[in-house]
């Protein structure tokens, strides 16, 4: 968490990253950029899923519909913030010649998506409608 706050400073400072270590092969940076974009698209998909739950399950009880939609939107925000944070950490690690950072976020996100999917199936099948 403290690392996250420290990295936020770097988000808006283009030159600060370049002061660290040496510039890696540009192809590694591009691969890191594509990974960042893939995570950003994952975040966009979660946000889109949140909007879809809100718009296309109108018969669901208000609490369930809004709760699921807001949970998916929040997951999207977390995913996006983590995407840019992880991109910076990887970029810094490559410049310093360190190992790439490991993360338990993918496993966590997988579990959350699985739980949300099961909850959605149950809610739609049992039909907790108003």
């Amino acid at each position: 968490m403290i690392d996250f706050v420290r990295n936020v400073r770097l988000w808006f400072a283009p030159s600060a990253v370049r002061e660290e270590g040496q510039t890696p092969d540009y192809r590694f940076s591009l691969a890191n950029e594509r990974t960042f974009l893939a995570w950003l698209r994952t975040a966009l998909a979660l946000v889109g899923g949140g909007f879809a739950v809100d718009q296309f399950l109108p018969d669901l009880r208000w609490g369930w519909r809004v709760g699921l939609a807001l949970a998916l939107l929040a997951a999207g925000v977390l995913c996006a913030l983590r995407a840019v944070n992880h991109w910076i950490r990887c970029e810094l690690a490559m410049r310093r010649g360190e190992d790439l950072p490991v993360s338990r976020f993918p496993a966590l996100l997988g579990l959350v998506v699985a739980v949300v999917a099961v909850v959605m199936v149950v809610v739609v099948l049992v039909g907790w409608e108003e």
Binding site: L10, W11, F12, A13, P14, A16, V17, T23, Y26, R27, S29, L30, A31, E33, R34, F36, L37, A38, L40, R41, A43, L44, A45, V47, G48, G50, F51, A52, D54, Q55, V66, A69, L70, L73, A74, G76, V77, A80, L81, A83, V84, W87, I88, E91
Partner: protein
Amino acid sequence: MSGAAAREVERDPGLQPERTRLAWRRTTLSSTVVTVLAGKAALAGGGSVAAGVAGAVCCACWVGILAVAHRRIRALAGGGVPDALVPPYAAAAVVCLVVTVVSGAVLVLLG
């Protein structure tokens, strides 16, 4: 070595700049889908001022993501060795997404 051969050598056989450019393009398409869904939520909001403002904010954020992607795509399409992505671009795209979600949450709570 002739000029044409020199350019062949410079070209990355893994097509990394092209793949990165297409990744940006896919991201703009994803954000378009999200914006269309947000627009539907805004229109379903019953024409209230708050829903209209939230929908307009979502559209503005979509334009922001398009602008970032456009500049990055142009840099990648220029040929040669492209510069690395700078943090403010990445942060701008993420900030646009976060603002979209905040106004989207307003739309969901209004709806």
